[in-house]
């Protein structure tokens, strides 16, 4: 096991440009929060509470996803196709699984960090959810899952366009549909089942249930964990194949 150097480098780079890191982690989720939460949702009620209380867990899941998948896939893609810095690691005795793990864990850190910042913003503005240790464990699992997906996607992409297409046809639709802004059971049947295929849907379901003070929706936890394991396996295999 020697994945730490990969994380060490990430931390070095973040420490050199902390403001850029902070801004890039927070801009999107804050925009969502302002638009869909305060802009639309002050007066609306969903179930027992306000729309803002409803939408916040979804935005947290989304934020965890964007800040793990995005930076991980972009930086690995650039490193593979343009700067070739990945080749330094590929000719060192760090195993492909350690490379995949280091990259995935840096996604976990970024995703979790952005979600935590958002929780602080929400608390400061008086939006209260039931936060538990489990709630943050699920956010970490979500970030891990999409970090691993970012590694796999970057290893599959042969060009910048491939990456952009993956974003347009998979990530963006998932961001809007996967139970982020509304509950999937409001949709008519074939769509409802389709949406249940998205890993993000299950992250939203679990987080929403926990935030409301209910149990963790075990079915969705298991599906999310299965996705995380599958993406990580794929990531490791794909790194191994290029080496």
């Amino acid at each position: 096991m020697n994945f730490y150097p990969i994380i060490w480098k990430e931390l070095k780079l973040i420490r050199k440009k902390p403001w850029r890191f902070l801004a890039s982690s927070l801009v999107m989720p804050l925009l969502y929060l302002v638009t869909f939460g305060w802009g639309l949702g002050r007066g609306m009620n969903v179930g027992g509470g306000t729309y803002l209380e409803f939408v916040l867990p979804g935005i947290l899941a989304l934020s965890a996803m964007n800040n793990s998948f995005g930076p991980v896939s972009t930086s690995l893609n650039i490193s593979k196709l343009y700067t070739k810095t990945i080749e330094e690691v590929l000719v060192s005795p760090v195993s492909p699984w350690d490379i995949a793990l280091g990259r995935t864990l840096s996604g976990l850190g970024r995703g979790l960090f952005s979600a935590l910042m958002l929780v602080l913003v929400a608390l400061a503005t008086g939006v209260h959810l039931h936060y538990s240790v489990l709630f943050f464990v699920v956010l970490a699992l979500t970030s891990f899952c999409f970090g691993a997906m970012g590694v796999a996607a970057a290893m599959l992409a042969h060009s910048h366009e491939d990456m952009a297409n993956f974003n347009s046809f998979f990530i963006i639709p998932m961001s809007f549909l996967a139970g982020t802004f509304f509950s999937p059971d409001r949709l008519p049947q074939p769509f409802q089942s389709m949406i249940m295929v998205y890993p993000l849907t299950h992250a939203s379901i679990v987080l929403r249930s926990l935030a409301a003070g209910n149990g963790p929706a075990m079915g969705s936890v298991l599906i999310l964990a299965a996705y995380a394991a599958m993406f990580f396996y794929l990531a490791g295999r794909l790194v191994k194949k290029t080496a």
Partner: protein
């Protein structure tokens, strides 16, 4: 240290490297000389485990590159053709990262960083981000990085490409002192003087095949040690002579403004292929 047999790599139907075989002994400096597209980089990428051979075998430091890549990676240092440093990190941080990838102890890492940055003349730049370094300085840092973990075998792909003559001389100096330390080096180049000045043996590569392999002295003696050139005229067929006297005698018959010069590896290449290397 390096032992390859029938090494071949196809890209589609193109055989970029075609049944190449050679061995490099401990402490030897071995050169792959050939024009652009000859297959030098492809050969190095296979030997450094970045590319799988289509056919043939390659042993580096006793390990097979296909079946034992991690052991090979422990033993080798790589100085790639493309500058793949982290430009946001400083010189010292680039080396530290490399040391960490190779699990060097912190104390050893620190000492080695200083030793190498002094060796390549970048100690005063240790805290400078790579993006502020010139091309020549980046090349030197790249060499230092390849040596960081004290590899037994070092692969250098066109270590002086694109540098001005002064920067090139500086790097030649480093390579000579590495050679004195007994480090095994495989380098590629399309600069004739570089292969001639540095290498114990040279393999001349053309379109994926080795067309000659020996020490520069023997290769040059093979075509004839001396050659004549007529100033201002290029229509004269190249002729080679074993001794200076014979060259001078022969030159009298051709033209007046004559120079007799020693043959180069370029002459060897032209003699074998009818083409120049530097095209």
């Amino acid at each position: 240290m390096i032992n390859i047999t029938n090494l071949t790599r196809y890209f589609g139907t193109l055989a970029a490297v075609n049944a190449v075989s050679f061995s490099v002994g401990k402490g030897e400096v071995f050169g792959l000389l050939g024009p652009n597209g000859a297959g030098k980089t492809t050969t190095i990428r296979m030997l450094t485990t970045l590319l799988k051979p289509s056919e043939g075998t390659a042993l580096v430091a006793g390990y097979d590159v296909t079946t034992d890549p991690l052991e090979v990676r422990r033993a080798i240092g790589v100085v790639p053709q493309m500058l793949n440093l982290d430009i946001d990190l400083t010189c010292a941080e680039n080396l530290e990262y490399h040391g960490r990838l190779h699990k060097m102890e912190p104390g050893d890492r620190e000492a080695r960083i200083e030793e190498l940055l002094r060796f390549v003349g970048l100690w005063d730049k240790k805290d400078t981000p790579v993006e502020h370094l010139s091309g020549g300085m980046r090349r030197r840092l790249l060499i230092a990085r390849g040596l960081m973990h004290r590899p037994q075998v070092v692969f250098m792909d066109e270590p002086t490409v694109g540098l001005d003559p002064q920067a090139r001389r500086l790097i030649w100096g480093f390579l000579e002192s590495l050679k004195r330390k007994g480090i095994t080096i495989l380098l590629t180049t399309h600069y004739i003087e570089e292969a001639d000045a540095l290498c114990d043996r040279v393999a001349i590569l053309q379109t994926g095949r080795i067309i000659a392999l020996d020490s520069p002295t023997v290769l040059k003696a093979g075509v004839g040690k001396y050659s004549i050139e007529c100033l201002g005229r290029h229509d004269i067929p190249r002729k080679f002579f074993p001794t200076r006297e014979e060259a001078i005698d022969a030159s009298r018959e051709v033209c007046e403004d004559i120079v007799v010069r020693e043959s180069t590896l370029e002459d060897v290449f032209i003699n074998l292929t009818g083409e120049r290397i530097d095209t």
